[in-house]
Point group: C2
Chain length 331, copies 2
């Protein structure tokens, strides 16, 4: 997997302007995952191995630097954002029936659904508890509201499963709620925490929302095309779960009636295995993937416009690089 | 079910000193459960029908009155405590595989596990969001920490399933963490919110913790003895889930080897149905139930000692009545 390795290296170079902050963020995260209860620490140890790219935490720190707003507490804010993301991942694994997350067995595979629910709850609670220790309430407020929004997005999504008539705007609204919103809040907090700086904060929120939406669209493309080994998490789960993502929506809307019936059959026929591979057999996904990737690029372009008033610093450069990373990423 | 009806009536009489506050609490709760998303409001509407006894909310209000600490925000604090309790119930239903909760189909029965996880997350998020709108951070702080403690208790419990060697102290530690702690925090907040009043708050916390532990012990007895119709939620779920509760621990520790083997068999033999009924067949649970109920009474007695310095008011009288209700309740 040399491509993936070099992609990880590229990301690490990108995050150099906030390398110290990222290290402090990881230390805070590690401390928060420690528990005196052996049963709990066994599980949080497992979650630590997910590690992940830390993109959301990096956005808090990079936007903080780029807007000249970095405080001593930014690393903690970044850790809280990352913990909320981890909690959504753990609960998402229950939802998706996914079995592999970042090359480590999912919580619900190694333990069971019970435990995964509790561990996710634990991570949310830890995140909120840490946020209430900060000097300003801004992080608590925005993140509680953001978490609510993510849940609403996920619930909306689950009611739209197997809905091939989904409008692209509805798909994007849901993807914004479940992914864009946390990117947006990470950026707002970077620019505004502990308070003030609202105009810059709003521009950064728009930057983050669009970046996050683009990230989700690319994620939906990778779920159809990547290998589990390359991506480091289960793929094809959207098809298994009946989630109709942008590339499929596009192909479906341009297909004739026979092809539409074949696509619906792949999603719904009971007992079918490896539905994503079957889907690639019954239709040509490529035009849908090209369309979706273009849409992601358009969104990234729109996102970057919000950085135009920021001074030219390495952190601002890294935010541009982040947009490129999202667009080109293979993991 | 005339007994249950009069029991509900008795509770309603008990809560008269805070009837106005309870009404305001329910109004806040109803407003918080409203969502513009139709998919979400359909589900929260369903949760509203759980209603429940509102004991935890009542404790916030009664302790507030009894300690002369009632503020305009107490009803909101009470609603937040109740929402956190609702969230734990929704997630608990996933854990227990329970199918009936308060005579209303469980969320995970009517929808699915996915939805139940998301709805619980939504309720937690709403609760935390509301707490960040209060004038003092005390509720956010204590409730985030309490939620973490509840998760740790539930995780500990899940690792101790089928453990017949569980010490009574460990059982009580777990029951305190999963139930006592929220009762304790409800009482602390009643006495202390928005801040100060620490000594009284500590006594009220001890009162609440012991009351909550006693409540849980009685709950564990009812799970073995009550009917689904009378209790209004699934019964026998502890046996199904391998939870070894105090009455069973007691019977097991006094049983001979043959009887122990029979008890273990009822818990573990694959495919067995109605395990609670089978358990009643293979052993006499009565001595265990008597022992557990006595333990609950001892705890309630110890709880009430913490009220001794409070002035003699209707609210203090209601707290005494609450202890009696917990001890005598059939639902």
């Amino acid at each position: 997997m040399p491509a993936m390795k070099s992609s990880r290296e590229a990301l690490s170079v990108l995050l150099e302007p906030v390398a110290d902050g990222m290290e402090r963020m990881r230390a805070v995260l590690a401390a928060q995952l420690q528990e005196t209860s052996p049963a709990v620490s066994d599980m949080t140890e497992h979650v630590r191995r997910f590690r992940g790219k830390g993109l959301r935490a990096a956005l808090v720190l990079l936007v903080g630097e780029a807007t000249g707003n970095t405080t001593d507490e930014h690393a903690s804010v970044a850790a809280i954002v990352e913990m909320i993301h981890l909690a959504t991942l753990v609960h998402d694994d229950i939802l998706d029936g996914a079995t592999v997350r970042r090359r480590v067995a999912c919580v619900n595979e190694r333990w069971d659904n019970q435990t995964a629910v509790l561990l996710g709850d634990f991570l949310y609670a830890r995140a909120f508890a840490l946020s209430t220790d900060l000097s300003s309430r801004l992080a608590s407020r925005l993140l509680a509201e953001t978490t609510r929004g993510i849940c609403v997005g996920e619930i909306e999504q689950s009611t739209r499963r197997y809905d091939f008539e989904l409008a692209q705007t509805t798909y994007e609204k849901i993807a914004s709620a479940k992914t864009g919103i946390l990117y947006g809040t990470a950026c707002t907090l970077g620019a505004r925490y502990p308070g003030g700086n609202e105009i810059v904060g709003d521009a950064m929120e728009t930057f983050g929302n669009r970046l996050g939406l683009a990230f989700q669209i690319i994620d939906d493309c990778l779920d159809l095309t990547a290998s589990t080994q390359g991506l480091g998490k289960s793929v094809g789960t959207d098809v298994e779960d009946g989630k109709i993502t942008l590339p499929v929506l596009r192909v479906y809307s341009h297909a004739d009636e026979d092809q539409r019936a074949a696509i619906r059959d792949v999603y719904t026929r009971p007992g079918l295995t490896d539905r994503a591979a079957r889907l690639r057999e019954v239709c040509d996904l490529e035009p849908g993937l090209v369309y979706a990737r273009n849409r992601a690029r358009t969104l990234l372009h729109a996102a970057l416009k919000n950085l135009k008033n920021l001074p030219d610093t390495p952190a601002r450069g890294a935010l541009f690089g982040m947009a490129e990373f999202v667009s080109e990423r293979g993991f």
